[in-house]
């Protein structure tokens, strides 16, 4: 299963930038949030298959887990030069996750960066659920 084209709302922040993502399921929310963040960073994020990266994380709660999760996706790009193109979750609870991320190499000059995200912050970040599904709000340091 590939990540659907992310639907998200950009949130205004004086110094930085945020996003709001909604989804019917929790796994899909984590996928969509990752895809939305990459869509903010890259013009036309690439698709395809390449190196698989296993991710295993623990958090104090879902919000902490989301911040750590997006931080991992961001590190793959900034530290390892890999763009995540697909994600398969093996396990996702409110305090831990295990997933396999499909990646392709970031190619400077071909993949265009439109915004630099320095980090995923905890400031006003939230994962919540209501009658319509799951939501997350994240503020990035730009």
């Amino acid at each position: 299963m590939t990540i659907k084209k992310p639907r998200y709302e950009l949130l205004d922040h004086t110094a930085d930038m945020g996003m709001a993502v909604n989804s019917s399921g929790l796994q899909e929310l984590f996928k969509q949030a990752a895809a939305a963040m990459l869509d903010i960073i890259l013009e036309n994020p690439p698709k395809g298959k390449g190196r698989k990266i296993r991710v295993s994380l623990e958090g104090a709660d879902l919000t902490d887990l989301m911040v750590r999760w997006l931080g991992e996706i961001l590190y793959m790009l900034q530290g390892d030069g890999l763009v995540v193109t697909d994600i398969e979750f093996e396990h996702l609870t409110s305090v831990s996750l295990r997933a396999v991320a499909q990646t392709v190499p970031f190619k400077p000059g071909i993949h265009i960066i439109r915004h630099e995200i320095k980090a995923v912050t905890y400031h006003q970040s939230l994962v919540s659920q209501d009658g319509t599904g799951w939501k997350t709000k994240i503020i990035f340091d730009m």
Binding site: T14, A15, D16, A60, Y75, E116, S125, M142
Partner: protein, 479 residues
């Protein structure tokens, strides 16, 4: 949260102590700038910082305050070493983001006719943009030396001269750095980014001195009217971002396990005296040193690019470092408090240190004048050189503002710039700009920032630092 402000005088506003606040807040601002805070959440952030354990004095904000994440940008907070905390969010991701100003012997007339070639040479020779990498590849052991020694490492490698260290805050080496506490991720990200400018609000600007306010101090600083200067604004790049990220996550777990209640998770912290607090300080010092080495190298690259573009000799260019200051840092410093001199952990998140004349940490060359305080504005207006004043010693834990402060969000700025050519608008003002990112110029356009003149005037009127010179941009490179 509704914050009620009390106007104390024409440049100070009190945030009274309410709720969980342990100390009051104090905002340096004027009647016009203070109105701009009503639309964002920076006042709440001043109040949140005031609730952190061990805070002393006031939770301070400089006149360029704006909404940050956790701490407000422009925030200054000092903590007791026994009862107080250290917070990576109070320093920021770009640890030791700062400014470096170089003077030259050239005048506006020497450079303006060749500004396009000059900016192009700088743009070509200085790596800019997101994830930009430099010609320097560090082995792990060499990177540890950079992290421990800072600007002194760069000087040893032939970038600039030993005299530059006298003209750098903390001589370009923050003591206490310990590379053994760094993650493999931080080390990896720092291996190839030394000597790079980066992106976002980072820039290199060629300027000319348009006005001198304080002739004696300007002369002591080596400034004269019409002189060409170069200002560099950058920090510790991905190395610093990773260190902040690593420790925020660790401290986020710490506050959970130690049941520390925080109004904002981004304020995650640990006691200064705890093992985790000390490890963060040691890691943060590594990033601070990396940033100083980075700016030292960039100065050397700038000199080379200018010599080439203008076909002149080093003697004709006469480039000299005026000063290098950081504006994202936490430091253990001595300050007067309740009649005694005590050591405190001072966080400056978007605030510049400002030492008055006579301060023992000043180098001999500036001891009679005060520390140079470098305040960049936006790329279309002006920047300022100030000198530290006595008011900073008694009123702001030796701090002043760090820039104009953002007024518009990036998305608001891009919307406002729709249908406009920012490049052309700047060119019409005599400012030639080259930038790497597609949206950088729109996001960083002059309208996105507050009026730096008002910000600086508040700092001047409050006695935190006094105006020395006004610098006008003529060429800018951005990531």
């Amino acid at each position: 949260m509704d914050i009620k402000l009390q106007r104390l005088d024409n440049c100070r506003w009190l945030v009274p102590k309410t709720g969980a606040m342990r100390v009051p807040g104090l905002i340096f601002s004027n009647d016009e700038l203070i109105k701009m805070l009503k639309s964002d959440q920076s006042l709440v952030q001043v109040s949140n910082v005031a609730s952190l354990p061990g805070i002393v004095g006031h939770s301070l904000a400089m006149p360029d305050i704006h909404w940050g994440y956790g701490f407000p940008i422009g925030g200054v907070a000092a903590f007791d070493l026994e009862e107080g905390i250290i917070s990576p969010g109070g320093v920021g991701y770009d640890i030791n983001c700062g400014c470096r100003l170089m003077t030259t012997l050239l005048t506006d007339e020497d450079v303006r006719p060749r500004i396009k070639e000059t900016v192009s040479a700088l743009f070509s020779d200085i790596p800019t943009g997101v994830g930009s990498t430099g010609a320097i590849r560090l082995t792990k052991s060499e990177e540890a030396k950079v992290a421990s020694e800072g600007a002194a490492w760069a000087v040893k490698k032939g970038f600039g001269s030993i005299e530059d260290l006298d003209r750098t805050e903390d001589r370009g080496t923050l003591q206490g750095a310990d590379p053994s506490v760094l993650s493999e991720r931080a080390i990896k990200r720092g291996s190839d980014q030394l000597g790079t400018l980066g992106s976002g609000n980072h820039f290199l600007e060629i300027q000319s001195v348009e006005h001198i306010y304080d002739q004696d101090t300007a002369s002591a600083f080596g400034l004269f009217k019409g002189q060409v200067t170069v200002l560099i604004h950058t920090g510790s790049r991905g190395f610093g971002h990773q260190i902040c990220d690593d420790f925020l996550k660790e401290m986020s777990s710490y506050v959970t396990t130690h049941s520390i209640k925080l109004p904002d998770r981004q304020l995650a912290c640990a006691p200064v005296k705890s093992s985790l607090g000390r490890r963060y300080l040691a890691a943060m010092a590594c990033a601070a040193n990396y940033a100083w080495a980075n700016r030292q190298i960039l100065m050397d690259r700038t000199e080379e690019a200018l010599l080439k573009a203008l076909s002149i000799s080093p003697r004709e260019l006469g480039m000299r470092l005026l000063y290098d200051v950081c504006h994202n840092i936490a430091k253990i410093e001595k300050h007067p408090l309740e009649g005694k001199t005590v050591k405190l952990c001072v966080h400056r998140k978007g605030a510049t240190r400002s030492l008055p004349a006579g301060h023992p940490l000043l180098p001999a060359i500036y001891r009679n004048w005060g520390q140079p305080v470098l305040i960049p504005g936006d790329m279309g207006t002006r920047s300022y050189v100030l000198a530290g004043n006595e008011g900073a010693a008694t009123g702001s834990f030796l701090s002043a503002c760090h820039g104009a402060g953002r007024l518009l969000s990036r998305t608001q700025a891009v919307k406002m710039a729709r249908g406009r050519s920012i490049n052309r608008e700047l060119a019409n003002k005599g400012i030639y700009v080259q930038s790497r990112g597609r949206s950088t110029l729109k996001e960083e356009m002059p309208d996105a920032y507050k009026d730096v003149s008002q910000v600086v005037q508040v700092v001047h009127d409050a006695g935190l630092a006094r105006k020395v010179a006004l610098l006008k941009p003529m060429g800018v490179i951005k990531g």
